[in-house]
Subunit: 331 residues, 2 copies
Amino acid sequence: MGEIRQDPTTKEWVIMAKDRAERTRDSVPERVRKDLPMYSPTCPFCPGNEEMTPPDVLSYSDEKTGRWGVRVVANRFPAVTPEGTTKRRLEDSFFLSMDSVGIHEVIVECPEHNKTPDAMDPDALTQVLMAYQERYKALSRLPFVKSIIIFKNHGPRAGTSLDHPHSQLVAVPVVPTETRARYEVAIRHYDDNGSCLYMDLVRQEQDSGTRIVMESNGFVVFHPFASKYPFETWIMPKKHEASFGNASQGDLAGLADALHNTMTKLRRAVDNADFNLVLDSAPVGDEGKEYYLWHIRIIPRLTEIAGFEIGTGIHINTSLPEETARAMRDA
Amino acid sequence: MGEIRQDPTTKEWVIMAKDRAERTRDSVPERVRKDLPMYSPTCPFCPGNEEMTPPDVLSYSDEKTGRWGVRVVANRFPAVTPEGTTKRRLEDSFFLSMDSVGIHEVIVECPEHNKTPDAMDPDALTQVLMAYQERYKALSRLPFVKSIIIFKNHGPRAGTSLDHPHSQLVAVPVVPTETRARYEVAIRHYDDNGSCLYMDLVRQEQDSGTRIVMESNGFVVFHPFASKYPFETWIMPKKHEASFGNASQGDLAGLADALHNTMTKLRRAVDNADFNLVLDSAPVGDEGKEYYLWHIRIIPRLTEIAGFEIGTGIHINTSLPEETARAMRDA
């Protein structure tokens, strides 16, 4: 018999239905597989094509080559733009809207067009995380910015439009409804227990051990109890800090190490599948709060969400995190 | 400049970023296109293969052929099963779970393996909707059932596993968190205004007219103000009724007509794209409530959700509903 599990961080239910993985299928979405070159003349993120993007917002040089190793530029097709105000408009006394004011940047992670996530070494990843944080801190200071979302889309099923390894940062003038919900659950837990929900979660996962993928000095990598997606992987720091902006240089190096190991295991376990990576952090202005913990979520896109998920928000997961975590440990 | 719009039914923000549709792409997920036969010998839903499924829960005969026209059977690979209880288990004083008790059924919509949604005529669709409702009513009476979700996945990008036209019904022992949130917004609106949010929304859309796709005697079809997906289409009854279970025979015939027209327009506007269809209804036991309205949402799967959507719940929509509604009106 299957289980319905509750995500302790959102109170959302997830249906665990392992037997459903066995169902017959007439067709599955094609996996797009491409052999990419190390350099693509038409790629705006490849070295030598810098004039195809807006100018650098930030760049770190690669000590070995003397050229750039990581670059941050404005997104040429931004979801939000710096113009406008956060004044709300009420149309027909019913519909609420505002200017889509914000900042949308791209972090080009490396010069190589075809580098896979597992091929990024910890030093290179540390540079990427430092770029994330430098921009995170700078944008936190803009008065209209309420949330900063850093994410990576790897592969077409994960919604990426360009193959060259890159992440994105979007600073928006609102706190997302989902973040608010997550936040309220964390506050309620803090009120009831006097402790951070996420720190308690990390300790629970360590004690149980069954869903742990790996553990390093600073970080715990695990498959959450109520995983919505097969091989969904969370990376949490062991040291309390609500905001990614306040992570130390040592934390970033530790995270780079955990990320590198996770990507290597994902490559082995699910063959470098398309994935999304999201960095969760407390909203701007809540950096000092005791009830939140910044962390990383990685969502491999092995299955499609369907009408049930879209209609209810309840996911049906055909893998058990205890089993996928074991597969990752062994990978 | 783009806009951030708020969905009045959920208070969720959606970023409208039309210019982002112009972005260059290295690759897009393959559209799987198949020429299907009218009959497939290996399809469990084709006539003659009835022994490949569990026995009929319900079937309506086709007056012309004398054979079945619509069949309802238990899902062979169910997400939830009738065994178990709704008793919650608390593991390590931290993780909440329960048996995945529930009912998961499949509604086989027609005998033909290759019938496209726009090819279903209103009479045939009425029969499908009657089957939905008969099962909805029957399952509402089971003591453990709190919500009944009826949905359809059309095409591999929408998560379907079998090509033969079918819908699904899942009766679950919980109210989804998202339904609760939607519900709370509706109750708040009712408290503030003394009227049903959804009925007010229908009137607002009728008054504005810019997002209307079509209108019939009983139903209004429109693209919502804060559409999360391009060509997202909502169908709402003009007559107040919280629960789909209480829709009249005339309502079902009217909905079949609106659905047929919508599917024809979708076929012309977006070339029979993969889509999900979801039927929203008040939770079981709340059939008489004045603040909710049952309705249909159709989500064409033209774009992939990516890290930003997964991380925040905020969707970035590259189409304006005013423009897609016009395209649908003209289609």
